[in-house]
């Protein structure tokens, strides 16, 4: 069974290699090194040539599907950002991955919506989350966050709990603004109700205190319910 899978992978990988060779013949220095991992091939492309490379992939080499397009933040490296294109050929039945690096000072790259219209929303998401601008995109606006949101949440220097921001409400301003979420030492690290007594003694805010609600009677309720502490239950 393993042999069969391997054979399929290698034949698909060879088809991808053939496509890469044809691209190299056409673009030469614009293409960087190729990486192979388990029969899948990744090709580095100069950001300035991405649209031409993609157009050739689609119109001459039969890569008719864009499976995914995403941004990557290599925080601390230069160039910082990377756009990854996962393309597929339904005629050759093989995958190919393109990668293009762009700098932090000018996170701009050509849009490939004119090649694959399916890239439209993916590019909008990469713009929304990383602040990568796709020139030539027909409708480059935020897709998940609201218009006017000042940050790019998937950048590595953006805290998970968020940053304060204005919240343009359709109703009255009582809906308030975006607050930083209480992380309590990290995501998914929360003191349970069991620990209320112990954590208060150590001076840390208990889960009841930490919640931004009027739970003044909640602690009393817990006492009333006779919730055992960890030690008692052991």
């Amino acid at each position: 069974m393993v042999e069969v899978v391997k054979a399929q992978d290698s034949s698909m990988g060879e088809k991808a290699l053939v496509a890469i060779e044809k691209l190299r013949a056409a673009f030469g220095d614009a293409l960087g090194p190729t990486r192979e991992f388990r029969g899948e091939h990744s090709l580095s492309v100069q950001a300035g040539n991405i649209r031409e490379v993609c157009a050739m992939l689609k119109h001459e080499l039969g890569f008719d599907v864009i499976t995914d397009l995403s941004g990557v933040d290599h925080y601390g490296e230069e160039p910082r950002f990377e756009v990854v294109y996962l393309v597929y050929s339904s005629t050759h039945r093989c995958h190919l991955r393109l990668k293009a690096r762009i700098s932090e000072e000018s996170p701009v790259i050509d849009s490939v919506v004119s090649v694959w219209s399916g890239a439209d929303w993916h590019e909008r998401e990469a713009f929304d989350m990383f602040g990568i601008h796709f020139t030539g995109h027909p409708n480059l606006k935020r897709i998940l966050m609201w218009p006017g949101y000042p940050h790019f949440p998937l950048r590595k220097d953006f805290p998970l709990g968020g940053l304060p921001a204005e919240l343009p409400s359709t109703a009255s301003p009582a809906a308030g603004s975006v607050m930083t979420a209480p992380m309590a030492g990290g995501p998914f690290v929360a003191a349970s109700a069991m620990q209320v007594g112990a954590s208060s003694a150590e001076g840390r805010p208990s889960s009841v205190r930490r919640e931004p609600r009027q739970y003044d009677n909640a602690a009393q309720q817990l006492v009333k319910l006779r919730v055992p502490t960890r030690k008692e239950s052991v």
Binding site: P168, A171, M179, P187, R213
Partner: protein
């Protein structure tokens, strides 16, 4: 068969029941809460279960789900509320006529749940006056029914007319009697 005549008979011969106006209005209100199902995530599935035959919300006069806020008086926020949705939820709430009540169903609506995230409102009580919090992820349908019944008890004890709660708008986190906490 003779009808029960607890408080006597009017000059015209019709039956008369004497009660306080508050009690009469409360009795009407608490048994005809029309919910606005603000289903935002998976809790809405449990909300639908509550509306279906097995759990049968209609036993409490609450089966009339109204998708127009103008015909609803109980908003059940069921699910994760992201900031982008908060303005919409608040607008729907403000379109509901007074008197109105609010249930935060599940962990997300109550506190943001497991989503300690830049995108999720850490509890809808940041912008809605929540009467009942129901824990659980999602809560069992029985827990929602318990919350509904607890709310009915509260509505039944309000001074509906003399206090004219209907005129008072309670800001977030300022429910006079304090919130009801239901263990889901």
């Amino acid at each position: 068969m003779e009808l029960v005549k607890p408080f006597g008979t009017s000059p015209e011969g019709n039956d008369v029941i004497v009660t306080r106006l508050d009690a009469a209005v409360d009795w009407v209100r608490k048994n005809s809460c029309w919910p606005m199902p603000m289903g935002l995530a998976c809790c809405a599935i449990e909300l639908m279960a509550v509306g279906a035959t097995r759990f049968d919300i209609s036993r409490f006069g609450m089966e009339v789900m109204r998708f127009s806020p103008r015909q609803a008086d109980l908003m059940i926020v069921a699910g994760t509320c992201v900031y982008k949705m908060a303005g919409v939820v608040q607008r729907v709430w403000e379109q509901m006529p007074n008197p109105k009540w609010c249930i935060a169903m599940g962990a997300c609506a109550s506190s943001g749940g497991m989503y300690r995230s830049y995108a999720v409102v850490q509890g809808v009580d940041r912008f809605l006056p929540v009467d009942v919090y129901i824990s659980g992820c999602p809560p069992r349908p029985e827990a929602l029914l318990e919350g509904l019944m607890a709310l009915q008890r509260r509505i039944g004890n309000e001074a509906a007319v003399s206090d004219l709660r209907s005129e008072a708008h309670h800001p977030p986190g300022n429910i006079p009697q304090g919130p009801i906490l239901i263990q889901g």
